[in-house]
Amino acid sequence: MSDFSLTRRSVLSGAAVLLASTALPTIGWAQEPQKGGRLTVAADSEPRNLNPAIVASNGVFFISSKVVEPLAEADYEGKDGLSPRLAVSWEGSEDGKSVTFKLREGVTWHDGKPFTSADVAFSALQIWKPLQNLGRVVFKDLEAVETPDEHIAVFKFAKPTPFQLIRNALPALTSVVPKHIYENGKIEENPANTAPIGTGPFKFAEHKAGQYYRLEKNTAYWGKSEPYLDEIVYQVLPDRSAAANALEAEEIQLAAFSAVPLADLDRISKVPGLKVVTKGYEGLTYQLVVEINHRRKELADVKVRQAIAHAIDRDFVVKTIFLGYAETATGPVPKNDKQFYTADVPAYAFDVAKANALLDEAGYKAGADGKRFKLKLLPAPYFNETRQFGDYLRQALAAIGIDAELVNNDSAAHMKAVYTDHDFDLAVGPPVFRGDPAISTTILAQSGIPDGVPFSNQGGYKSAAIDAIIAKAAETLDAKARTDLYKEFQKKVVEDLPFINVADWTFISVASDKVGNIADNPRWAVSNWSNTWLAQ
């Protein structure tokens, strides 16, 4: 069967080449954006709550970022890596206690009401700060939002808050939702959480559970002549191999977030009419991290942690598990971050002999069976790669005499075991680096985080030095000084290894050649797609 379709495909593509060669002068049209069409996209998860102001996660953004917009979006070229969306300009005060946003004029909500500074004030104070998973950290000192004018919002902070942090947080944390929809009743139970209303280029049309989400063009969008597409349909395809087949059958035109398994990319890149795009995810770098429970006396010893770091062959992980679609990590900030990354940290080369020596030094001599001690290893179930790395880590640890027992859980049970019950010795987690270490990276090392906060330091690690750097950086207003503090943070973390960074990876999109303007910003998959178009 597949043989037959392959032949048919090659015949077709041969025919297409022939046709194209006769029509060479007109081939230029492919570069010109076209209007209309329906873009069908693979969706591998089906979030129920689609309010990005409450749940700032990529699964939610993937769909709702087209409907609900943030104040600014990440950009490859723009100043500070940003391009304006609902805010046209932003400025921080000298004392770090206020930030002034000038808002875009002439923007209306999908229900026709005008967008004003009151909506921004409401979203910030009632949702981002108290309810949002990330906003709780970044906006914790936000005291008030003044609205001197319909199009000016002034954020007032109780304590000096670095403007650099607020800036870096704009794309992911500042989705603005309409006050008039949310002001009555409980925000968490508002029906607009499942059928979002925003200012974006697409309106939410419907969600058929288990089948699809459908978004429709917003004809009153503020962006001139945008959006290009008439419709976006998210086809729910939880099975990963289904996405590749659907692309080949031309049922869908785009599979983002590595919906096509990495192992299939090589084959699919050779399919005519499909392209593999590795750009467009720089702003959402995932980190493959070994989380450590420092309550275990063996793991509380830094020599043991260093031994584990030496036992991991990072190149093998990148080459075999990620098939090259990842970068080895040197520390808690990924190499692709331009602002904060430093290579000036201790390196842990793959060296089994050294790892064994360190363990001997720490006093954990191998027994008669070659084993030093037993551990419980919990790989996070969210990605194929985290699970495979769990399998690899078990073998890597066996090579240095640590007997790791794998415990597989489903998502909910894994969350509970690691982040609430602390019932693990080692865990494999995929935290996300979100453009600023203060958003979701420092909490991996900071002490005093309440139980149950996911992707945070739940291993009972405590270092006065690291806590001090984090606290100092949180109130350092000067961008340069703040960046230096985070470089120091990276150094300290890699020295003491509260957790071990192994690799950093972003995602891959596979798209039909007909889809234009993809991957044109570092958060493309979770941006608004207003200029994405489809050749007819």
């Binding site: 990963r240 191999s241 590749a244 398994p261 192992a263 299939d264 090589d266 084959r267 075999t320 598990i321 179930p381 194929n384 699970r387 495979q388 769990g390 399998d391 690899y392 078990r394 073998q395 066996a398 027992e405 794998l406 415990v407 597989n408 859980n409 489903d410 049970a413």
Partner: protein, 273 residues
Amino acid sequence: MRRLVQIPEALVGLGILAVLVVMALAAPMLFPGDPLAIKGAPLLPPFQEWSLPLGTDRLGRDVLAELFHGARTSLAVGLAAAAAAIAVGAVIGTLAGFAGGILDETLMRITDAFQTVPSFLLALAFVSVVGPSLTVVVIAIALSAWTGPARVARAEVLSIRERDFVAGARVIGMHPLEIALREVLPNALPPVLALSSVIVASAILIEAALSFLGLGDPNRVTWGGMIAEGRTVLRSAPFLSIVPGIALVLTVLGVYLAGEGVVEGTAVRKGLS
């Protein structure tokens, strides 16, 4: 036994099972150490390198070693689950059939309740609540498989308990429980044992399905787990799913054929006598 050999199905079935048992027993000798250890370059196709005849999986683990060690898991789970199911089922069936009355009613309604739940769902629910490990998987499978033996045992006991030797045992003053377990149960066992091949085969399949869904014991090689691992690279390295798939099919086929043969063999013997 001699007649058994004359039945072709039985011969084939027993042959397959013998190979399987040899594989399972020889695995630690032929492939010492952890079968999940990384042995070579990842995704090596079969028949390329002599040391790795069936190639390697995504992490570079030896597929042949995994296959051999997987046979151990499959057989262990199949036999343990069937033994547990038959033991529990036979005892419950015997007690229900021998005691009669309220105890019989209660036990049989419980059996009904278990029978109404699809066996795979029950196993799935049990493993996902308790957490995957080999013992849990065995218990989960036995939990859904004991009802068949219980019903058969009860039916058999109902006829046996009216026999003279039972009455005799009563007369000499044996405790009813002793009569049930020592006199009645052994006589009710043969038809129950005939169910074992079906239970072993379905236990192997359920274990494979659980592993396929990621609910197997991650520290052991299982064929179902191997198929699941291979599924992500089905298009580029189909052998990773096909090899354990064939092993699974052959095993289940072997168990069925051998069971069929045994039943037929005993039927022939009865017919002749």
